[in-house]
Every structure is written in C-alpha cells, then in structure tokens.
C-alpha cells in the first residue's frame, strides 16, 4: 500500500525524496541541538563548580570568623558573621544552628526563637533544637511550651552521646520544673534519670541534690547512698555524697547517720592532708552532731539513762525559760505569744527538780517533760531571740526531732 500525504493522495517520487530529505535535515538539526545542549551543560557545570568552590571558601571564612567571635563572647559580631556565611550558603544547617545560638547568646530571644522554630520544622525530632527552644521558651516565661520542648528533647534524636545528652536534658527539665513549683513532676523526672545514671556518680550526686531541693529527702539520701556504694571513699564524688548525706540526715533528724557520714569524710580529709580549714568546719559540725546525740532523747536509750538526759535538758531549758520570762515580764508581756510562754510556768513548777527515779518509772511523765522542753525552746526562740549553746541544740531537736535509721 502506497504512503499517503496530508490530503489522502499517495506521494509521488519527488515528494518521497523531499520527505526523506526533510527527515535527514530534521535529524541533523536535532543532533546538532543535542550537541549544543551537551556542550552548554558541560560549560555550565564547570562555571557552576568554579563558583561553588569560590563561595565555599568565602562562606567557610565567614563561618570561622563567626565561631571565633562567638568563642570570644562577641555574640553580636558572631551574628553578623554567621549571617554572612548563610547569605553565601543558604540553608546550611550548621550555619543556621550557629546563627540561632549566636542570636540567643546576644539576647535576641525572639529572633533566636523564630530561627530555631524554623529549623525545627525540617527536623522536629532533633533533640538539640528542642532543648534550645525549651531554654528560649523558659526565658520567655512560656512554661507550657518550655516543658513540651523539654519533653520533645528527651524523646528526640541526639546522634552521638544520646544517653548522656538525654540525661542532662532531663536534669535541666527537673530543675526547670522545680523553679515552676512542680516538685512532683520534678521528682518523677529525677527518679527516671537516677535509674539511667547509676554508674555515673557525679550525675547521681546532682540528682540527689535536686531531689533534696525538691523536698524529697528520703529519695535524695538513697541517691547519695547509691553513689557511696559504687565509688571508692577517697573519690571526690564520695566526699560530696558524704557531705550530702550528712546535710540531709541532719535535716531529717538522723543525727547518728549524719555524724557517721561526717566522720568518714573527716577520716579521708585528714588522711590526704587537706588544708586544715577544709576539715575544721567539718570537725566543728561533727562536734555539734555528737553533742546533739548526747542531748537527744533516743527511744533506744535505757530508761534510766534517758531520764538522766531528760533531767539535764530540763535544767538547761528551764534556765532559758526563767531568763526569757523575766525579760517578758519587764516588757509587760506585750509581745505576741508572751502569754503562751507564761502559760508554761505552771508546767515548769511540776518539773523544777525532777526526780530521776520518778522519771525513770513514768514514761508519760518523760513524754510530758520532753514536750515542755520543746515548747519552751520554741517560744523562747520566738520571744527572746535565737538561743546559743545547748539551748540552740535543744531548739534544733525540738524542731527536727531525733530519729533513728
């Protein structure tokens, strides 16, 4: 069947020749065009590459300047340098992150916040970005966002050292929660962090300090004990844990434990010949603790010994009561609470010279006298100023009663 043209008639010989000629011409034209395209592509590639290399040199130079400025604390200069680097390499994540950090360091919180938010758009799971945003939100007093970003940071991607970076972020969150008066949430974070930090005594000490700050002294004490179980006693962390144990145990009324911790601390300090001033404070504290133990009415004491101790404490407290009452009477009992103090006088009349034998025999009498001593120390402290000597120790025992382990 003969080929047909556009009008439906078959082509003649001339037309077939023209058609062949046209196809060859078109083929050559398209091949030439292809050649030109390839040549232009190669030219463009080299042109582009040369410019890219030059620009990389420039941007690296600006970035280096920015880093130096940031390291020197010149955050405003660093912002300009990083911005210049970014102008040459738009979208470079490292530069953007540096710029955001420089903006935050320069106190340009809103700009830094906007920048970090943008960066987070492309990597919402980036741990560092979320942590930085959390810090900025905290600066902006936006606690809901700050906590949300902290949590995103905890669940985020940290690339290297993920465990330790997450732990640090969690501790930071706990500290922030404490500032926001949310101790229960802080405790939950700290206990979670503790579970992951058993092998890191420095972190354990930090956790213990935060737990103590949050008011969870028992948990804090446990954390210090765990540190002491894992590190040699002569390490810095152990010494810190001993001091922490001493402080918390004393605040809990466990004076025996506090004294034991302080003794261990002093033993080490003395053995490595620390400067005398570092041990003198501890020695004084230990002396105080030992004296507290001597005054404390431990339920473990034999009844007779307890009665003797009670009689001694009563003598000290009564002397303080007598002095203070005289002062208050001179002031015509005008101070608020003076009446309460005077109401203790009939009680004291019963125990002016307590009989050791009677006290030993009567547990209710012991308890009554102990209570009277506590009340006396508390009210004389309020009305006649802070006590000294054994009265100070008795006041401490009145406010933080002796407890055993």
């Amino acid at each position: 069947m003969a080929a047909r043209g556009g009008d439906g008639h078959p082509w003649n010989a001339v037309q077939r020749s023209q058609r062949r000629h046209l196809m060859v011409q078109d083929g050559i034209a398209l091949l030439s065009l292809f050649g030109i395209t390839v040549a232009l592509a190669i030219l463009t590639y080299f042109f582009f590459s040369s410019f890219r290399v030059h620009r990389q040199i420039l941007e690296a130079r600006w970035y280096e300047r920015g880093q130096k400025a940031a390291a020197a604390g010149h955050a405003a200069d660093a912002v300009e340098d990083f911005r210049s680097a970014l102008a040459l390499s738009s979208g470079n994540r490292a530069y953007e992150l540096s710029l955001a950090q420089a903006l935050a360091a320069a106190g340009r919180t809103d700009e830094a916040y906007a920048y970090y938010s943008l960066l987070r758009e492309s990597k919402p799971g980036d741990g560092l970005l979320n942590l930085c945003l959390a810090r900025l939100a905290a600066q902006k007093n936006n606690s809901a966002e700050a906590i949300a970003y902290y949590r995103a940071a905890l669940n985020g991607d940290w690339l290297a050292e993920g465990v330790s970076r997450r732990r640090e972020a969690r501790l930071e969150l706990a500290a922030y929660l404490l500032k926001q008066h949310m101790p229960a949430q802080a405790q939950a974070e700290l206990l979670t962090a503790e579970g992951n930090a058993l092998e890191d005594p420095a972190v354990m000490n930090k956790i213990a300090a935060l737990l103590d700050q949050a008011g969870f002294q028992s948990d804090a004490l446990t954390a210090y004990q765990r540190t002491l179980q894992r590190v040699p006693v002569n390490s810095g962390e152990a010494l810190q844990a001993l001091l922490g144990t001493d402080r918390i145990a004393e605040s809990m009324g466990n004076y025996t434990m506090a004294a034991r911790a302080l003794e261990r601390y002093l033993n080490h300090v003395r053995s490595v010949a620390h400067p005398p001033e570092s041990s003198s404070v501890a020695e004084a504290a230990l002396g105080r603790l030992q004296r507290l133990q001597a005054l404390a009415l431990s339920p473990n004491l034999p009844p007779h010994q307890r009665a003797q101790r009670l009689a001694h404490d009563a003598a000290v407290a009564h002397a303080r009561f007598a002095t203070c009452s005289t002062q208050q009477l001179a002031l015509m009992l005008t101070a608020p609470g003076a009446a309460t103090l005077t109401s203790l006088a009939p009680e004291w009349k019963k125990f002016v010279h307590p009989s050791i034998a009677r006290l030993t025999a009567s547990q209710p009498m012991q308890d009554e006298l102990a209570s009277l001593i506590d009340q006396t120390e508390i009210w004389t402290n309020k009305l006649c100023g802070a006590p000294t000597g054994e009265n100070a120790l008795l006041l401490q025992l009145a406010t933080v009663p002796y407890r055993t382990e």
């Binding site: 043209g5 556009g6 009008d7 082509w11 037309q15 023209q18 058609r19 000629h21 046209l22 196809m23 011409q25 078109d26 034209a29 398209l30 065009l33 292809f34 030109i36 395209t37 232009l40 592509a41 030219l43 463009t44 042109f47 582009f48 410019f51 030059h54 620009r55 420039l58 600006w62 911005r83 210049s84 970014l86 102008a87 040459l88 738009s90 979208g91 903006l103 809103d110 700009e111 906007a114 920048y115 938010s117 943008l118 987070r120 758009e121 492309s122």
Partner: protein
Amino acid sequence: METPPATMDTNAKSTPLTLSEEEMQQIAPARGEGLFLVLSIFIGVLSGLMVVCFRISIEWLQVLLLGSVPHPGQLRLLYAPALVGLLVALLVRYFFPNARGSGINQTKAALYIYNGYISFRTMLGKFITSALAIGAGHSLGPEDPSLQIGAGLASVVSRHLRLSRERLRLFAPVGAAAGLAAAFNAPISAILFVIEEVIGNWSAAVLGSIVLAAVSSVVVARAFWGAEPMFHIPSVNLRDNRELLAYAVLGIIGGLASVLFSRLLAWLRPWLRALPKKTIVWQPAIAGLLVGAIGYFGFPQVMGPGYAVIDHAMHGEYLWHVLLALAILKILATTLSFSSGTPGGMFAPTLFIGAMLGGAVGSVEKIFFPHLTGSVGSYALVGMGVLFAGFIRTPLTSVFMVLEVSGNYSIILPVILANTLAYLLARSLQPVPIFEVLTHQDGLSLPSMEEVREEISLRMEDALHATEAPIVLGTDPPAHVVASMKKAPSELALVRCSGNHWYVLTAQEAAKAAQSGAESVESALPEERVPMLYPDLALEESLPHFRRWPLLPVVNRAVSGLLEGVLTQDDVLECYRNHLRGQG
C-alpha cells in the same frame, strides 16, 4: 522594540530545502506537532542551563563588584553600581538597543507583533547587561530577564527548524515559561504566569509544550541548585479564624503599596525619558549612585535582588521599623533603577517589598495582638504574594508562587484572602496594570491580559429569537411544505430531518423539490445539514455559517434536535452593537 529583518523568510532561511508550508503539510503532516513537543524539551533544557549560567554570572559579579557580603560604609557600594550603570547604558545604546526593560513586554511584543521573533543579539544583550546591572547592585531582579532569555533562546532554536509561522510564534511563550520556571524554581507559577500575562488563554495547542519546557528547565535548574524551596517558614496553624483579619489588613496595605509603587514608576519613567537625549546614557549611572548611596548609608540590603534579605525577614530577624524602612527604600531604589532604563526585572524587587511590608505589618500586629499564631515569616510570605497580585496583577500566579517558593501549603487561606483583597484594591485604584502602562509609554499597543480575562463574551443565547419561518418535517411531501411557506411571513422554512438535524429551506429549493416529484422533502435535499449550534456557544462562532445559511437554528443540548430559537446575521450584528453601546 524588536524588529525582524525585513528580508527574513523564517521558513527558508536556514535550510537548502525550500518548501512552502502547504508542501510541507503534504509530505509530513504530523511533523510540526512532533517537532514542537521535542523542541519544547530541548528549549526547556537549554533555557534551564542558560538561566543557571545567568544566575551564576550575577552572583560572580556581585562578589567581584560588591564583595562577598556588602556592608554599609564600603566605598565600592557607591562607585560599582554607578560605573556599571554607565557601562550598561553604553552597551544598550550602541550594541543591544532591545535589551532595555524587564523582558515581559518585549516577549509579549515578540509574540503579538513580530511572529515570535527575538534576535540572538537581544538575548545575548539581555544576558550581559542584566547580569552586570543586577550584579553591581541595581535594585532589579533576574526573573524577567530569564523569561526573555528563555523566549529568545526558543525563538533562535525554532527558527533553525522549518516550522509553520503559527508554531514559530508560539515558541516564544514556551521559552518564556522555561526561563521563568528555572529562575523561580517554580514550574506551576511560570506556566500560570505565561498563561495569565503573556498568552492570555489556556490554548491546548501550546499548553502541553509550555508544561514540558517548564518541567525540563526546572529539572535542569534543580540539578544545580537543589530541590529545596526558596524560602522556609514554619507551618501556619490558624487556631482562630479571626486571625484571617490580620492577613486581610496586610492585603489592604499591600494593595495600597502596590498602587504607590506602580504610580511612582508610571510617573518617573516618562519623566526621565523626556529629559534631553544626552542625559539618557547617564541615567543608569546616576540611578546606580543613588541606589549605592542607600546601601552606603546603612541599607545595603536593597541592592540587587535581595533574596537573602527576604530569607532573613522570614526568619524574623528584623524589627518592624527596619522592615518598613527596607520596603520604602526598595520601592525608591527599584523605581530609580528601572525608570533609568537599566535592564533588569521587577519580580524580585516586588517580592522583596512585599516580604518586608508583610513582615512589618505582621510584627506590628503581633505587638497589639500577641495571641496571633502566625510567625513574622508567614506574614512576610503572604506579603510577597500580596505585592505580586497587586503590582504584577496576576492573581492566580501570585497564589501558586507563594506556595511554590515556600513549599508550604498551610499558608493557602491567608494567601488567597490577602492576595484577592490586594488585587481588587489595586485594580480599583489603578485600573491600568503597570505592564500595560509601560507598553503605552513605549508606544506599543499589546493586548492587556487582564482585560482579555474580564472581557464579557457574548453567547448565541444573547441573540436568539423565536422563528417566523415555518417548521416542517423532512417526511412531509414537498407540496405541503410549499403551501406552508406561502402562508408564513418568511421565505424560509426549517426542515427537521432524520437524525434530528436541521435544514434551512429556501422558497426556490422548496419549489424545485415539488417539481421533482419526490415523496418527501428530505429526499429532494442535498446531503448537507445545518451544523449543530447550541445556546451557550460563543456568538462569534455563528458568523462563518452565514455565508451558507441565511438562518441558523439553535438547538437544545439535552434534548437532541429540540429547537431553542434561530439566529440571523442581522440579529448577531445588532447584538454586538448593543453590547458596544452598553460598554459606553
């Protein structure tokens, strides 16, 4: 403006085989369409490569002339744009006279006046002079020149293949779309812009090629620059729809700003052109000096296209008063640069002004309404679209442009609202779009695509009336038909033939059928029937048929053959007359 050589025969110039268009159609009927598509891809790739070279040239020149990052107080900010302005003016005057302007109107002129002809010299001139001017810090952008470079490249390439005049004409917008798509890294916006502003309609003949070319060029551009969108902003979560009011305010302010920008340009450009001719060569240098002075005394951000500055604004790095100052200074700088005749585009400055204005408005609104959830970046992004819609007057492109350059669909509602407000406000305050104003200043009369879009098209139903001619069936005997016609006031009859087709019968034909002794009138008629016409068709479509048919039956689309009414040539002409009278 571009003028093709008087002796140029676009079909015969480049090939020894001399065939007429008719001969070509005879021996290779499918050649034109096939070549058109293949060439579209080549044009896309070549345009992409050219635009990459163009952008790198600009950046190289920026580094060489202004330093890697310009800072206030650098003397080069004063002398570089001034000296380069002078050089560019000399080049335009003595070597590339058609390289003036942005490139949009030049491309339209090529399409509508010069059969798609853009010379290689013009393309080269546009490349060199625009790169120099923008690289030296003149407040102009690379997109419009890229569009013209693409169109020029398409014109040069297509002339070397023997294609019909109609196809040659269409290559300019194909190249324009490719150039713009590569410059913006935004194929949809480029396609829409060419359709909205250059071609003016969705012609199926060219749409496929435009898409192919735009996609090819963007693929090439992305191979070099990467596929990341131009700007990044956080997702916009409209927690409260009342926040749209904040964007509406931005739309109104943006609309007013675009009118101010347009009027300033429309006033300064002819004023400068009216100055003595000897000053024209100095005007780009003086404009460069003034723009440089703005940079030297504190605002180097206004120099060049300013994409990095837009990015900074979107990151909320500037306070509102800095953003406002940058917007005002950019309007001044761009007006100076463009009006002086320095080659370069208006797109980037428009986006810059819009971003700064949007950022400023957003920042101020957030001071008074701190609960607004949109970031400053989102306001800056919407601001870009707002200025684009108000100044360039391409509402559809402006919406898609914002989406494409940010890769962020979450901003769609605020963009549509603000852009529409800006567009409507700008159109009511400045009825003539800026590109049309510039065209008139150049002494040309190109079609305004905004007018074309809004042109009310008349339909057949507008001229339709009831028929006075008798209606007969094709099965009726001819004698019956003749009798019916005698009773009627008309000398014509409408015959409903088989297949629900119609035939308009004259008195002579009816008499002839009766004499022939045919059983039915239809059997005496020729095979030809009146073409099917429907009430919703454009009225102009009826005109060619009046040569053959004195009366045209218009039928219902749903019920085949059901007569809706008839049209006569007089009805149609009267309808047009009434329409013109109505337009005043």
